[in-house]
Symmetry: C2
Subunit: 408 residues, 2 copies
């Protein structure tokens, strides 16, 4: 029989959101009349903005004519989109990138899941706890995580984010090669300010480690003095890769487009002491195993960065922000401790009376038909918390909060 990747045998069987979906399906089967409201998975609910729809129709029409048809595109993405991103997302923040340091993809999840392929088996990886599961699982699948015992991998360094440290990870006290940071954070909804991020960049520069910075939620930052990109911190282009997504910014969860910034200054070392460029390695990886984001999707993404789109996007973001405000206010009125939700679509709710998070999940589902995501699914330090998202409609959000108030 074919010898397989042993690391898979150590993975827990169910990906967090699949288990949530399973329990919701079971509830629905038992309660076919009940309308379930999900404040669980971070999917958007608003349709694509008119600018994007127009760009899609136009690009589709191009695909219908031999003269304008586009087949294989560059694996790294079309220059028109890389350039639009450089000018829109970075230049106004004082960040100077070359357009070819930006790699277009089908989303941040793929990029974040795949990027670890560039590291050695012996690379020591640090993640926060709680954490977006993809960072942990993708390293475990690669056999880099060691053995799983009591819900933790032996070779991963966990950086607890708890109420005690205001959900801000402390710098690691052991040597690590790679650190995953997410700000605004999924799941806690908190944000790293300039001072914290500077400390992380300096630490990485001192210790020769690499930061994988997940900025998928940067559009939700309300305070313009907070960094939106890690490259706003001097020297970060020598120690950090940044992942971005149009999923939450522009409702692209079903359209699929994101990008990774891999500066040319980034290097890493082979076991025999040679220095390789991570930019070149990522280019080689993408050219070998990926064929680029669809042309029509890249045209849709380009439309997001054009002048007309700004107002349309702002209107959508305002809806989600108002939901978050409403949730924070309601939870506090209920006497609950709620974190995040200001610069983020996520609210990190402490369960009442330290109730285990899957019990809280089941209680919310059974008594209020409201879906949240149990904090324990994001890591040991997520126990006693639940993640709520601001992505449902204002009507459903309001209804869900009324039901929760009654149930608790």
């Amino acid at each position: 029989m074919t010898s397989i990747n042993n690391a898979y045998a150590g993975l827990s069987g169910n990906y967090l959101f699949s288990e949530v979906a399973r329990r919701v399906s079971a509830f629905r089967a038992r309660n076919p009349e009940t309308e379930v409201i999900s404040l669980g998975i971070g999917d958007v609910s608003l349709p694509l903005i008119p600018s994007v729809i127009r760009a899609l129709h136009k690009a589709v029409d191009e695909m219908a004519c031999a003269d304008t048809f586009r087949g294989y595109g560059p694996e790294q993405g079309y220059a028109f989109l890389r350039e639009a991103i450089r000018r829109h997302d970075f230049l106004p923040r004082g960040v100077k990138l070359d357009a070819d340091e930006i790699f277009i993809s089908d989303g941040a999840k793929s990029d974040i899941g795949n990027f670890q392929e560039l590291f050695g088996d012996d690379a020591v990886v640090a993640i926060t706890d709680p954490v977006y599961p993809v960072y942990e699982d993708s390293n475990a699948m690669a056999g880099r995580a060691g053995v799983r015992e009591n819900g933790r991998w032996s070779r991963i360094v966990y950086l607890p984010c708890t109420r005690a440290n205001a959900f801000q990870p402390d710098l690691p006290d052991t040597a690590v090669d790679v650190v995953y940071l997410c700000s605004p954070n999924n799941p806690t909804g908190t944000v790293l300010d300039r001072a914290s991020l500077t400390a992380w960049v300096n630490h990485a520069r001192e210790h020769g480690s690499l930061i994988l910075f997940d900025a998928a939620y940067e559009a939700f930052i309300r305070d313009d003095s907070l960094p939106r990109s890690i490259y706003e911190i001097p020297g970060a282009d020598e120690v950090a890769v940044e992942f971005r997504s149009l999923s939450k910014t522009a409702g692209f969860t079903g359209l699929r487009c994101g990008y990774a910034v891999v500066p040319k200054k980034l290097t890493a070392r082979t076991k025999d002491g040679r220095t390789l460029s991570l930019h070149d390695m990522w280019l080689r990886r993408q050219c070998t195993k990926y064929n680029g984001c669809p042309y029509i999707v890249q045209r849709a993404a380009e439309a997001v960065f054009q002048p007309g789109a700004e107002k349309e996007l702002a209107a959508g973001l305002a809806v989600y922000r108002n939901n978050a405000d409403l949730m924070l206010a309601s939870f506090r009125r209920m006497g609950l401790s709620a974190f995040g939700g200001v610069h983020s679509p996520y609210i990190w709710l402490q369960t009442p009376d330290a109730m285990p998070s899957w019990d809280f999940f089941d209680l919310m589902l059974e008594k209020a038909a409201v879906v949240c995501t149990p904090g324990a699914g994001f890591g040991a330090s997520g126990e006693g918390y639940a993640r709520f998202t601001a992505f449902n409609s204002p009507e459903n959000t309001k209804k869900a909060l009324e039901r929760l108030e009654k149930a608790l």
Copy 2:
């Protein structure tokens, strides 16, 4: 400095098609007035068929309304498309699959590049020579290929396909865990008949190995008695994964959609002797590192399998087939030995007087401004050959052949 994946240091710097593109760019810069005709990379030239365009516009409109908007879809693909594929591509050939054995993706290149993640480091991989480079490179990147010397990896088993064996690989005489087969073949354009494929399936069953069957070009098979799917061979569902693509079938190279068939009967063994389901492992892999093919692209793919599309697709295929016929006839008239091209869009041309294939490439480019793909780029046994594709327009194909006739 971050420890990196050492295997990347052993890879050759340039992916074949990038090197071709580089030389073509340099030629264009030197000869700005000359019209270059590419019979090189396997990209289609015909626009998307009207059925697909209509489906795309309709799906885009759905994304514009809150009621019909789709966010995250299932990572494995929407049921409507999996079911359409099951009914259209397999049932009529007598192949019974469950729809959930079909995993929709953004293309066969991604699936083929990623699937090796499921194997152990010690898995012995066999590939044909010449070969589609992704099979080799993706295993090399995973550190499974050993050391590269004289253009070959020490731990990969190469199965030469030469004129002597009519470009049909012989069964391996050493134990292998995984065999990559491609039929109709890229680059040789030849096809495995039922007897050969049966021998491969039986060999895999006897030796407990796994076949990764790349059927990206099955639409080009003209003889209905030839197998289009490996599952037409009894017992193949216990030893084979099949990869398919809409790129060549329906011109989706720029739209990005393909699928992998991973039967539930497939198993593999961990080092400590446990048996795992490859279907479950692939599901876990996809759910962790992938977020699904865009909804609008899946609706476009669905349209390919609906009754109205058949005629439109056939018209496009006929254009490419006529090109292949014309090329075969021309090459033979020039006194050259040409293979493939009957059940495939690829023609495998033996260079005159055993000219090295990159020299032949340069000669064709300089003297005829025609781009082919040098056989040596596909492996050692490709030396002395060049791959020509039938995907250009009839006019350009004719013009390129006239130029070649003059140049040779």
